[in-house]
Symmetry: C2
Subunit: 238 residues, 2 copies
DNA sequence: CAGTGGTCTAGACCACATC
DNA sequence: ATGTGGTCTAGACCACTGG
């Protein structure tokens, strides 16, 4: 009920009040206490609960909205946002994917090296191939940290690709991306239906929730069929 | 003098007051009226000049600081920020570069196609090679729009690479990046000292100031020697 | 010390969307 | 009609830091 949600927001005395409010609500969202769609108490309620002025509460909520964690509308109020839709499959007519390999357990030394894992850690290791319009689209090799996402152990990913599934069933607060160009290894080339050594775009992404590692993935896009486009303002900012 | 700078900030009646102030100052910076290092009038002066409350002025300045256009420090005040340093040459011991080709004038049809230029437009077309630690580092092909940056016609780029020069001598408000992996063309491969067909990372960037095109560049990084790393928060935001 | 920005309050009016 | 967020004011106190 709403009273529970109001009580859940707390000040910890560290730093400015607006930032204490922002962090408190952010943690409730990233910690899963407030899943997407949960309605956030209105400003006047938070104001009374916390003994802060409305401008201060407003400031915290505006910042959370700018970070994409909540969406706000007049009259209908503030709700926890849903993660963004994963695929921009605008041009794709047919989409299919299959799990090529899966192994759960402790990582082998070379796997640990490739994904920066600790030795004893329990992980799920998946290799999946995504097809679009009947052509290989991307080869995905992924590690899921089972200590952070235990539910992944019971999921076979037969219907939902691991990336989509993780968006639904886990939370993340930070990610690191690396982009490079690599020649296709013979095995990978065969799967992607290209010549060995052909130029591929490799995107490596690692995500964490707070300090806990969630997943690490290597996405290999064949040839120069793919372009990734971004728009920016001056000095790299929006 | 300070009085001039204060008079230059104006309200246009469109939208919230804080946004009018923000856009007015932003335009003074991006238009070159306030070059980097210019001191921005303090909040109380803007407040009196514009008849706005301090919170409203503050809000505009905070947003400009978040966008990286100004830097603010207590006591010493607010100044227009300098563009970020161009190279992260932390690991690079020796850096060198040379201009391989240059041609000014109207673009050929295929050049117009490659860089998305209009036919009659006057441009400078440059090919330069950058070396780091005595190895080819990146091959740069660039077009500079002389209508937007006329001073580029008189610059030979013998000492300063065009990217650095443009940061000093032009302004931009928006950029579009595209990243892809491509095999090296034979000519490019020879210049980069790699085998033809080897995987290269291609970064294409086009920049504008307001609506005017400034420059377009294709940066070809050899092999998989390079990685581009970025960190992000949830949902792509900071 | 004094000037600057950083934060905060207790109000107020308005715009907007749903009820 | 009413509840919600969006904006704005006129003050206030504080933190920091350069003269």
């Amino acid at each position: 009920m709403a009273h529970d949600r109001l009580d859940a927001v707390k000040l910890d005395g560290a730093g400015p009040i607006y930032d204490q409010i922002r962090r408190s609500i952010r943690d409730l969202i990233l910690g899963g206490t407030w899943p997407p769609g949960t309605s956030v108490p209105p400003e006047h309620a938070l104001m009374e609960q916390l003994g802060a002025s409305r401008m201060t509460v407003h400031r915290a909520l505006v910042q959370l909205a700018r970070e994409g964690l909540i969406t706000r509308r007049r009259r209908s109020g503030t709700v926890v946002a849903s993660p963004p839709t994963t695929h921009a499959m605008l041009d794709i007519q047919r989409y299919a994917y299959e799990v090529l390999a899966r192994h759960d357990g402790r990582p082998s030394p070379e796997l640990a090296l490739r994904f920066g894992l600790k030795r004893g850690e329990k992980i799920a290791h998946l290799v999946t191939l995504h097809r679009a319009d009947d052509r290989p689209h991307v080869l995905e090799e992924r590690v899921i940290h089972l200590a952070t996402v235990p539910a992944a152990a019971a999921e076979d990913f037969a219907r939902t690709p691991p990336g989509d599934w993780l968006l639904q069933h886990s939370l993340w607060s930070q990610a690191e991306h690396a982009i490079s160009a690599v020649p296709a290894e013979p095995d990978d080339a065969a799967l992607l239906d290209i010549a060995a050594g052909e130029a591929c775009l490799l995107i490596e992404r690692r995500t964490w929730n707070q300090a806990a590692p969630v997943t690490a993935v290597r996405l290999l896009y064949p040839g120069n069929r793919h372009r990734f486009v971004g728009r920016f303002g001056p000095y790299g900012a929006v």
